[in-house]
Symmetry: C2
DNA sequence: TAATATCCGTTTGGTAGCAAACGAAATCGG
DNA sequence: CCGATTTCGTTTGCTACCAAACGGATATTA
């Protein structure tokens, strides 16, 4: 089933080389980018099926709770920025979190277009209980990597984020 | 605006260190995992707004076309696997691609529960025209990295995929 | 200070994604 | 063979996500 041409490549990667190897393509970039995406999917899926499902939270819901925990009460637009969501999406996520009682919205008196979002007591309790467990799970996900490899990975990705994120 | 405590960290990462630094947390794993996710989002968003939108394709649609190009006609379940989508999601993606005329579904005579999916002429033409451009874009996304760094990145991610992907 | 422009969060309409239920088809056990 | 089980792809019901349109509120400027 598994051929062993190059143990450093995944099976699918080998097939791609075979099929496209004669074309003038940038395989190094291709493998780097596609693995970023595949890793993200795997990581998210595992988190949602594991820790997060126990708390009835999606990845987006968790992120929002976590950002509010770290940053404290914030205005809706800033929260969207920080969660890396569009403002429209954030409205929905906050609505869901509100239903669950984790978050509350407060109109801003000085400018009535604005709204701030903050954790409720239940939300705070939840994230304080959840985050350490989430962090353990993060450790598992990259458990194959040494500390210096984790730092190297984070740093390489940081440079991709900066490039891809600009504009 | 920007403090310069540690230029190797993004602004948000610094704040997190400040706010959570006294807790017993695995920061190296946290930064690695969260950067995987942020990089994937940035990369996908940029691709969809750039190259893919010109062809009216989403990331999932593109992936499906691409897999069919590399692998040829395949059965629905295998296609879902290879695209890393649930079978339910794939039904929808294929339906959309069918509407656009890029893909066709063929019932399998020997087993009438099964269906194969393959590129149409238009689909083939599209992916052959699109992929080289997509690949250029991939090159831009990781343009900050040297060849050996790209390989290092791909390899580190491969190990995360294996760990996170195994149930 | 009135008309205009801009800004903010929400709504809308669309695709994407999943899990679980479903129905048709094939396979298995007796 | 025939009833029970398993195996397919689709459907359903839900959340997530985006862009663009919207409508109320604030700023600008003439």
């Amino acid at each position: 089933m598994q051929n062993r041409a190059d143990p450093r490549l995944l099976d699918a990667e080998r097939l791609i080389q075979e099929r496209l190897g004669d074309r003038r393509l940038d395989f190094d970039s291709m493998l780097a980018v596609s693995n970023i995406y595949r890793a993200a999917t795997a990581v998210r899926r595992r988190a949602e099926k594991g820790v997060l499902s126990e708390f009835g939270l999606s990845w987006g819901g968790f992120t929002t709770l976590w950002v509010l925990w770290v940053w404290g009460e914030m205005q809706s637009a800033d929260l969207a920025d920080e969660c890396d969501l569009s403002k429209g999406t954030l409205t929905g996520v906050v609505k869901t979190l509100e239903k669950r009682g984790f978050v509350k919205r407060t109109p801003v008196a000085a400018d009535r277009r604005k709204v701030t979002v903050s954790l409720t007591g239940a939300g705070l309790e939840t994230i304080e209980q959840l985050f350490p467990r989430f962090n353990l799970y993060e450790g598992e996900m990259v458990g194959n990597l040494s500390t210096s490899e984790k730092r190297e990975l984070a740093e390489l990705l940081r440079r991709v984020i900066v490039t891809a994120g600009s504009t």
